[in-house]
Symmetry: C2
Subunit: 223 residues, 2 copies
Amino acid sequence: MKIALIGGTGDIGEGLALRWGLETTHEILIGSRARDKAEERARAYAQRLEDAGRKGKPAILGLANEDAAREGDVVVLCVEADHVVATVRSLREILREDQIVVSPAVSMVRRGKFFFYAPPPEGSLAAQIAGLLPENTPLVSALHTVPAHKLADLDTRLDQNVVVLGDDEAAKRTVMGLISEMAGLRPLDGGPLAAGSLVESITPLLINLAIVNKRKDLGIKFV
Amino acid sequence: MKIALIGGTGDIGEGLALRWGLETTHEILIGSRARDKAEERARAYAQRLEDAGRKGKPAILGLANEDAAREGDVVVLCVEADHVVATVRSLREILREDQIVVSPAVSMVRRGKFFFYAPPPEGSLAAQIAGLLPENTPLVSALHTVPAHKLADLDTRLDQNVVVLGDDEAAKRTVMGLISEMAGLRPLDGGPLAAGSLVESITPLLINLAIVNKRKDLGIKFV
């Protein structure tokens, strides 16, 4: 399968590229606004996978975001939350209904020391993004609570749940399958996209817990 | 310490009474609108604690809600979310600033198969309740994610985190201390009461996850 990481040069993109690159044979397409940068990062990720002992050459390619979005079977929106809506708008004409779009994005604001959830009028960032996609392109909301730094540190053993939301059951199963291919991540179906705010609002809480308790990169497990 | 459980005859009240009753020497005041019912439940809880092997007679007393609220050093609002605002209004004249009020309440709605967070205009149930308390009575928001049935089943070993929010640091520490006295519950300071919605909205997610995945009584751990 071809997995396009839009804005794949950032933190979460790096983590997903490395984990999927290490443990699967999927083709990873690193997207960036600047193709040069995407190519350079793709080479760097490939090197890190080799250093981590991956057998065989990983299939990691750097592309402009538009080309990555065109090629991917699954298109993960790894851009920062501030830019995700503009990015989706720019990709609207490119995306097709035989693709799956994945959003790990969370809209937060910082007030003083703490972070708070700041959803758009649609109720969640997932709902807003779904409204911008071509009519039959399914959106799956997932991967909000997996800390990017732990994901990108291949020496860290993960042990977390990932809540996955979506209205297209087949698309949701596909994304859950991909997530379960990353060792230590256990996807859990959390229901429809309409529950987007319930998942997105965990991220500012995780950050606040980390701040107050001087911990880092907290994730979540359901027990 | 005297812990008053307002509406302590319900699910969450039962769980808290049994866990604190089993593992501490705090005096537990079971409150109910009907004093008879409170007394009957207090006797039943005491019997269960004896059956569970508690050494010595547990200090569990049944009282009318108003009397429990007057007596408690810490007053936990165990009534159902639909009634919690009316209950707080009815206790407003009774509560004092040397007491601590604890809210585990969450305002949810069910739409079809799933549950959604439905906060009041104040932003969270915690914020609404805080606005109804006497001016200097501190509110601590906690215990939303601990499933009542697991809490009340003394054969279940708990292994969960409990996020605790509040603006009065001393009150928050006191409540965190009480929570950590229940074996297997590890409180974590989640910051100010203003973050109430971040914690309250986890509860409908836990219920949805349980529904979709045919699991029961899910709680959370931060890893």
